[in-house]
Amino acid sequence: MKRQNTYERDQQHQLLSKVLLDTINEGFILLDEQYKIIDCNQYICTLLHKEDVHSFSITDFLSDDSKRIFQNHRNDLIDKKTIEYSISFIDSDKHTIPCKTTEVLVDNHSNINAYSLLIIGEKIHFQDTEELSVKCKSLEQTVENLQNTLMELEVSQDNALFELSISQNEIIEQRDNLEVALNDLKNAENKISSIIHCMPDAVLVVDKNGIVVAWNMAMEKLTGIKAIDMLGKGDYEYAVPFYGTKRKILVDLMFEPNEVLMNTYQNMSHDGEIMRGEIFTSLLGKEGLYLQGSASALKDMHDNVIGAIEIIRDITARVKADEKILEQQKEMATINVELRQTMEELTTQRDILADKTTMLAETLDQLEKSQDKLIESAKMVALGQLIAGVAHEINTPLGAIRSSVSNISDSLENVLSSLPNFFDSLDNNDKMHFNSLLNRSIKTKITITSKEERTYKRSIMSMLEDEGIDKADDYADTLVDMGIYDGVEDLIPFLKSEKSEDVLQMAYNVSGVLRSSRTINIAIERASKIVFALKNFSHFNQTGEMVKANIIESLEIVLTLYYNQIKQGVTLIKRFDEGVFDIMCFPDELNQVWTNLVYNALQAMQNSGTLEVDISKNGSQVIVAITDSGCGIPEEIKEKIFMPFFTTKPQGEGSGLGLDIVKRIVEKHAGQIQFDSVPGRTTFKVTLPINNV
């Protein structure tokens, strides 16, 4: 039984060795110290066109030159352990096959009698006549060698037969067999280990139970784990260096399919029996490594899986390069998209800018046009401020006229019907008093205030009461109404007379007609003045050219419009220099200047104080100064008062455009406006050129 097992194991491992070596796409030849071929893979058999090369000397397959090269490298090999050279093999058809070859000194050669491993790389193709002659020689040599080998084999066979025949003892025979089997086994294992050990790629081999049977030098280097610590271990221990945990890896797919496991690999591919997949592990290398695994099942002659091999290659550099290219492509794509967007944005912005430029140009044009309109509309605002006053100003004289007309007609009706009889009833003395009263009344002009009238009335009344005159109150009132304030003491005898009441009443009635007429005259004068001022004020200069106008008249118009506000509480002082003040100007616009300045002055004084208007000449300039006794302009707003929309008035009351417009108009006349303000005295001074009338 024991022998059976050993044999099987031996066979199994030989198979494993074969499959393994055949999986690799390079030639492997294991040599002993005498250059005898201990083992080789299928690649070599194919290369040399020979089914079995075992126990041949490597020199049997080399050209003469290559034999020398091979022998000359012995010392080098001992020194360097690994050497490279090119040698030419001669195949069974006598063809010369030049190959790059790596020879590695086998460390543990004492155990298996293996001295070195030849790794045969790519063929070098060249043909010439010399090569052909070399091939012929090699062929002859090979034939000779074959004959020698045949002889040796015969000798060996004889020896073996002899040895067998002389072995009588079964136990010894068994023991010997066992020893041979064990030795073979050991040899086989060692051969595999040696080959695998020297392979440049990292190699892992497991048997069908998942026990690690190979963990080569390159693998040691890759994982940092020594073969001695890994060999013989199972339970997926081999996964730990790559995944940090015990798990199934690519090599386990050789035993049973596993979709989930397969999906953990990138770029999975099948190449015949070989399965390839890629993973990234952060556990190896400085920043992790990309690894490509190539796994292949190892099968026995009955196609049973007896193990599996995985060759692991570090593909980090390639992946990194690929990634970098991908990244660059992505970046380029992004940059491309961004560029296109930027282009689009730029196009849009250019369009918007073009639109804006057009709009701005239009706005500028409109602004230029509307500046004139603004001045016009500011004029309308000023007019609007005046409207209340203007309505009052016109309705007041109209009211006075209407009332006076009715008084006149009533008076005349009364007087005309009673006058003849009245005169008949008067004596000469009465007639004289009547005429005197009438004359005094007619000569008096309405110049005193109601308050003054009241004072007169009181003094007259008390005088008449002192004289014991009845109706002193009525008499005093009538006299004052008639404009007879003084010299009343002369009238006392008359007033005491019988007819006095009738005479006084008739004189009052008759003179009333005259007073009413005078009132009408005053009213008409007032109304015409206002209409005239309004006409001038609202005058639109259609020509756009300066015309000759009198500055004094211009100011008087405005003062007339503000008469209603000025007459009570404000003392108006006008100081106009002698001479003619005609200048070339836009009169309606200058009216706006005076309106604004007078309006502001009255506002500053709250309609109570002194308003001074000075007009003077200074060379070729006219200077208009408007001074109020108001509160003055606070220091902090002095710089702002000419700014458009600046106003100290509550929202809705002032446009804040008044002084801005004033400044524009003055500048339009090539003039200047200045101001000087302390509490109680604020002067706005406008200087205008006369402009050669």
């Binding site: 309705n395 007041t396 009715s406 209603n564």
Partner: protein, 132 residues
Amino acid sequence: MSKNVILCVDDEKIILNSLKSQLKREFGNDYSYEVAENAIDAEELIDELVFDGCSILIIVSDWLMPGIKGDEFLIKIHKKYPQIVKIMLTGHATDEAIEKAIVEAHLLKCLAKPWSGDELIQTIKEGLNKVQ
């Protein structure tokens, strides 16, 4: 002897003269006719007349006057002398001012300048009926 007074307040002398003539012609010496050219003078005069024992029956006031406007003046007087009949006679007044005077000064009527003599006399008579 003290009389019943009709007071006219207007900043225009020509209006006051015309008004007084008109009233005097209508009512003769039954009443005393007083005039004032602004609200402040008018208030002083009213206090003075009341002090002298006069009865002020009616005030006819303009609205647009320098300083205190008609509605404010009448409201102020109404607080002191609610029995006086108040009439407004004006060439221009805002609707708000008239509304305010009606509510807060019990304004009898607002007459517009130029006024009709008949309307004025009718209004004054209406007012006199109220207080007499």
